[in-house]
Amino acid sequence: MAASIAVTANYVLQPPPYALDALEPHMSKQTLEFHWGKHHRAYVDNLKKQVLGTDLEGKPLDHIINKTYNNGDLLPAFNNAAQAWNHEFFWESMKPNGGGKPSGELLALLERDFTSYEKFYEEFNAAAATQFGAGWAWLAYANDKLKVVKTPNAVNPLVLGSFPLLTIDVWEHAYYLDFQNRRPDYIKTFMNNLVSWEAVSARLEAAKVASSSSA
């Protein structure tokens, strides 16, 4: 089972690590106000209500996610728990003036596992574009390999046994105000202008440590 990394919020709505208008013009302040201020906030608030008085109350978020994933036969609190986790991870996957190509070890690993950064870019784009309905696309790490994964609704790689490194939210609420139906434009903008490779590298380091200590 993958160890919990990066996001350890205990049902607290953490603000993104930048002002709500800091990602403009690539992701509007209005989007952040709704996406973080309403959607993400609701997942956190509703999770708190949902676990109150149950044996999930007070447990760490990743514990709740794994328990309620229930091998795919989702229990009621999964949606709110996983979405609370996913959104905090998403904000931290972005930064102002982000995007472009990574460097150093991360680039070397992407080139190793995808043959080139361009191939990774294509594969990540395709996963994000073809996740039908609501969901997420991820760069994940497992068995010393990087891979691209797409998941429906609230599912994330934690429950699939891998360490998430990067995510893009492809629920329509993530891009509709800025891009309407044009999901491919949103994905390109995310890759070219928003990705925080620093965050991804830090998560990769944590993942390597976590997986070698459990080996």
Binding site: F34, H39, A154, L177, N181
Partner: protein, 231 residues
């Protein structure tokens, strides 16, 4: 080998609105996006003209385009006897074919107020609703609650179970048509709860969209389907 004729557009023009056309030598039936029977702005203020235009011209059109592509690929795979390819295409067919089917119903489920949108159902459907749900308000409350509870993307439906001869409320995920929940289910009213159906106007407040959409629901169409299936 049988030779199939490609029908000319003039021949097709005489047929009733089928939103389909024949292409190619094998005569695969593919689809086109039908026009809406009302202006984009005609459902305001319940649903904005902006939403209606994007929903119809972009989302529904994309389902039609992708469905046609999947059908053409399916035809090739079938004629080559490529079973793996046929099976692999099933999800694209379900997503996009389902999207086309569902939206065809949805546009008919809606009508401007001045054309009867929002007018309660009369006749046999009205009575059946009272029998099964206590009242129209009871049905509306149930469908709105179930629509609000759909996680991710999907639809909430009022359907007729042809075999059991009763009305049912159910939801489907993504673009799954109602028939995927039961072979004898006939959709009467479907409400799209994908975020694209309401986001520009109602943002995250899906319950508000569900409260207002009833003002433009075309119960006349639902009654027609119900009466047809019951006779």
């Amino acid at each position: 080998m049988a030779i199939r004729c490609v029908a000319s557009r003039k021949t097709l023009a005489g047929l009733k609105e089928t939103s389909s056309r024949l292409i190619g030598f094998r005569g695969i039936q593919t689809f086109t996006l039908p026009d809406l029977p009302y202006d984009y702005g005609a459902l305001e203020p319940a649903i904005s003209g902006e939403i209606m235009q994007i929903h119809h011209q972009k989302h529904h059109q994309t389902y039609v385009t992708n469905y046609n592509n999947a059908l053409e690929q399916l035809d090739q795979a079938v004629s080559k006897g490529d079973a793996s390819a046929v099976v692999k295409l099933q999800s694209a067919i379900k997503f996009n074919g389902g999207g086309h089917v569902n939206h065809l119903i949805f546009w008919k489920n809606l009508a401007p107020v001045k054309e009867g949108g929002g007018e309660p159902p009369k006749g046999s459907l009205g009575s059946a609703i009272d029998t099964h749900f206590g009242s129209l308000e009871g049905l509306v409350k149930k469908m709105s609650a179930e629509g609000a509870a759909v996680q991710g993307s999907g639809w909430v439906w009022l359907g007729l179970d042809k075999e059991l001869k009763k009305l049912v409320v159910d939801t489907t995920a993504n673009q799954d048509p109602l028939v995927t929940k039961g072979g004898s289910l006939v959709p009467l009213v479907g409400i799209d709860v994908w975020e694209h159906a309401y986001y520009l106007q109602y943002k995250n407040v899906r319950p508000e969209y569900l409260k207002n959409v009833w003002k433009v629901i075309n119960w006349k169409y639902a009654s027609e389907i119900y009466e047809k299936e019951c006779n």
